[in-house]
């Protein structure tokens, strides 16, 4: 089961109201390689993966929910003081009409989150390679997001998240090696 801890994993600061940047950040909220997608992907794969990597998927999957909360905090802070006119100018006019200032699980183009973003093949190597690819795609997305803003406070939070993608990718690569060693062990019955 899960517990909630009443704090962010890393402090989130923004230095200005910027609904355009909030729209871009939705890619990491409800997009294909976003944090919700990552959390659901890893936690769902745990049931069919060998015991050796269940702990890793649990720990990284849970961390993704902390990242989801950080992205939500960024979007909230970037849009909370925006007028309908400012939202419209940022391409969030449709979002305002449907959701007002509420957050919604959608990508930067406004497409709703879908389970088709996730894969679960049941083959441990296929699933872990999927996870490595997801982390690398998320890392690249964080880089593009950092490039899209001159807000150093926002960049600081995004850089933390970018580094976490790198660590996750490396741990998943090690998990692949652990499973290969296990697979290649001579077994006598």
């Amino acid at each position: 089961m899960w517990l909630y801890e009443k704090k962010l994993q890393y402090p989130v600061k923004v230095s200005k109201c910027d609904p355009m940047m909030a729209k871009y950040l939705m890619e990491q909220y409800g997009g294909a390689d976003g944090e919700l997608s990552a959390a659901l992907r890893y936690l769902n794969q745990r049931y069919s993966i060998p015991n050796e990597v269940i702990g890793l998927l649990t720990d990284i999957g849970t961390e993704e929910f902390s990242h989801l909360e950080m992205i939500a905090t960024m979007i909230y802070k970037l849009t909370k003081d925006a007028t309908p006119e400012q939202l419209k100018a940022a391409g969030l006019g449709e979002h305002y009409v449907m959701h007002d200032h509420a957050l919604y699980y959608q990508n930067s183009a406004g497409d709703a989150f879908t389970a088709t973003y996730l894969q679960a093949k049941g083959d441990p190597i296929a699933d872990l390679y999927e996870d490595i690819a997801a982390e690398e795609k998320a890392r690249a997305t964080y880089q593009w997001l950092i490039d899209m803003t001159d807000d150093v406070d926002l960049q600081d939070g995004l850089k933390f998240l970018r580094e976490r993608e790198i660590v996750h990718s490396q741990r998943f690569r090690e998990a692949v090696e652990i499973l290969k060693v296990e697979r290649d062990k001579q077994k006598f019955f």
């Binding site: 089961m1 517990l3 745990r46 049931y47 015991n51 050796e52 269940i54 702990g55 890793l56 649990t58 720990d59 849970t62």
Partner: protein, 87 residues
Amino acid sequence: MAGKKQEMYDEQLLQLQEIDFVLLELNLYLDTHPGDIQAIQQYNQLAMKRKQMQMEFEAAYGPLLHYGQSYTKYPFQWIESPWPWQV
């Protein structure tokens, strides 16, 4: 795990699940009744008892929590089976 140890594990796990459910229910109640002093006393008493039960359970069967919220013996016990869906 087998036999006597499995029985002990099942029993202690059920006791944790029971006290946690009481605490969760009190939590939801207090979310909408924050001024009920008796419920708060019950919540804090059970929270203390829960901490004690967690310590005993973890000493016998390994960590319940990750991210440094439980202690571990060598080698790292967190990754050991069984997982909740395997018992």
